[in-house]
Amino acid sequence: MQYMFLIYSAEGSGPPHGTPEFDTMMKGYFEFTDEVRQAGILRDTAPLQDMETATTVRVRDGKMDVIDGPFAETKEVLGGFYILDCKDLDEALAYAAKIPTANYGSIEVRPVADFGG
């Protein structure tokens, strides 16, 4: 079963760029990605650029509305994601706890909907 891991954290809550803590975190990400790839369960992953780069689009009554910024002003922002193939929720939660951002942010685990049958 596929689960999506949405990686959230408040801006500035992680270790600052250029510090040894930042390097440790990045190393943690490389190791984690490596681990899930080796296990053959990695379906997709991507980091996202920061929130200032976000643009939100809405179409209402056929009219397109473009707004600068994320769709909702929240403290915690989406920073990236993984899609992994896991046996069940327990396995997924165990992987979520290994994502470095879990130590200061939050990982939302969502099962991917399967409409194909």
Binding site: M1, D88, D90, V109, P111, G117
Partner: protein
């Protein structure tokens, strides 16, 4: 068929539902891997039993009969499903399992999967409300209207809560399994806290007019008994069981003639349930002998000391203070500190108790906690400080939603004002 036999059949079915529900349901879960479907087909099987048993008599093993019938119903339902082709592997798995059970001429000894069922219902990915409702429904075999009544919500609300939880189990693929070894201690703690939550909702109903709801207390005890029978080596489960029996032994002494809350100090100790005390003590002793006293065992020990005292004055408060110290080491919460302070106020003096709650008086968590204000008011009163006591009782009154507690606090407040 005469009405006598119909009644007997009804009684037999009621018994089976209560006693065997979880056992049959847990086997059905292994069979069709879908809690909603497992429940539906078990209901179908019960309806079939109502039709068949009065005519053909009650089968030797009602449990095995129900399982077989429910399995057949599950296969029928699967065949009728619109997306049958895509579910073919599941279907074949079921047919295979069913053939095996038919061949073995299934008797009472089919595997007991109730532990899996309990851990699934108490999975931390479900909300605490959902854990409680699911456990009562699925493991306890309590009907949805009964659960709704016990928690004072509408049947629709409770039914929706159950459906949502079942849907999450299915769609997020919450495993139908006992937890992995490294998760075991915290997962078992969750199960115990769900059971204790059920007990407490029954024992100290947070809302409504009745102070004690016997059905929930009894159900919590039954759930702990089931869990203990499945994990006989675990002394903390027995600790919880003992705690609930000992606490529960006082439930009929907890309300006065006007429905007001009676505290330990004012309870008629002749109303205490001696059988429950005896059972609780015996279970506690067996748990303590096995060592590793956890927090439920310590709380049970405190409760046991109360049950030994012939009257309030003879309570061994020193011993209780020591036990609270141990409990605080395991569970350093403001609530434990509050209880320890109350014990100290009796072991030493009300002033000592008031001093002990000094540093938690700013704790945000306790500001809406009725027992904190009531305990503080009582200690102030006993220390002869009437004015602050009146104020504290007034705050306590404002923080409770339980009518019996309100009556108790109002009574205290009235008598204090009279003296003044």
């Amino acid at each position: 068929m005469n009405s006598q036999s119909e009644q007997q059949v009804r009684a037999a079915i009621d018994r089976v539902v209560r006693d065997e529900w979880a056992r049959v349901l847990s086997a059905l879960m292994s069979f069709c891997r879908d809690l909603t479907m497992a429940e539906d087909v078990l209901q179908d099987a019960l309806l079939a039993a109502l039709k068949t048993w009065p005519v053909r008599g009650i089968p030797n093993s009602p449990r095995a009969w129900l399982l077989k019938t429910a399995q057949r119903k599950a296969i029928d339902r699967f065949r009728r499903k619109a997306n049958f082709e895509s579910k073919r592997p599941d279907y074949e798995h079921m047919v295979q399992l069913q053939q095996r059970t038919e061949e073995e001429d299934l008797d009472d000894d089919f595997p007991d999967d109730r532990l899996k069922l309990i851990f699934t219902c108490c999975h931390p990915a479900l909300s605490s409300e959902a854990q409680v409702a699911l456990t009562l429904r699925t493991v306890g075999g309590m009907a949805t209207p009964e659960i709704a009544h016990a928690f004072l919500v509408s049947e629709t609300t409770m039914a929706q809560r159950l459906v949502r939880a079942q849907r999450k189990i299915k769609s997020a693929n919450i495993p139908y399994a006992v937890p992995a070894a490294e998760r075991w201690p915290e997962r078992l703690q969750t199960v115990l806290s769900v059971i204790y939550l059920i007990f407490n909702e029954g024992y100290a109903a947070s809302t409504g007019d009745e102070l004690v709801r016997d059905d929930l207390c009894a159900e919590a005890v039954r759930l702990a008994e089931i869990l203990s029978s499945l994990l006989p080596g675990d002394s903390e489960i027995r600790g919880l069981l003992a705690l609930m029996l000992l606490h529960g032994s006082r439930r009929h002494a907890r309300s006065g003639s006007e429905g007001e809350l009676m505290t330990l100090e004012t309870q008629d100790r002749d109303l205490w349930d001696r059988n429950a005390i005896q059972r609780g003590r015996a279970i506690l002793i067996s748990a303590l002998t096995d060592g590793g006293a956890g927090r439920y065992q310590i709380q049970a020990a405190i409760s046991a000391i109360h049950s030994e005292a012939e009257n309030f004055e003879q309570t061994d408060w020193r011993q209780i203070c020591l036990l609270y110290e141990r409990l605080y080491e395991l569970q350093p919460s403001p609530v434990v500190q509050l209880n320890a302070a109350v014990a100290l106020s009796f072991a030493e003096s009300p002033e000592a108790g008031l001093q002990a709650i000094e540093d938690i008086s700013s704790s945000q968590a306790l500001q809406d906690y009725q027992p904190y204000h009531a305990a503080r008011a009582d200690m102030l009163y006993r220390a002869g400080r009437r004015k602050p006591a009146v104020q504290a009782y007034e705050i306590a009154l404002g923080t409770t939603c339980n009518e019996a507690e309100k009556r108790f606090l109002q009574k205290r407040l009235d008598s204090l004002r009279q003296i003044h």
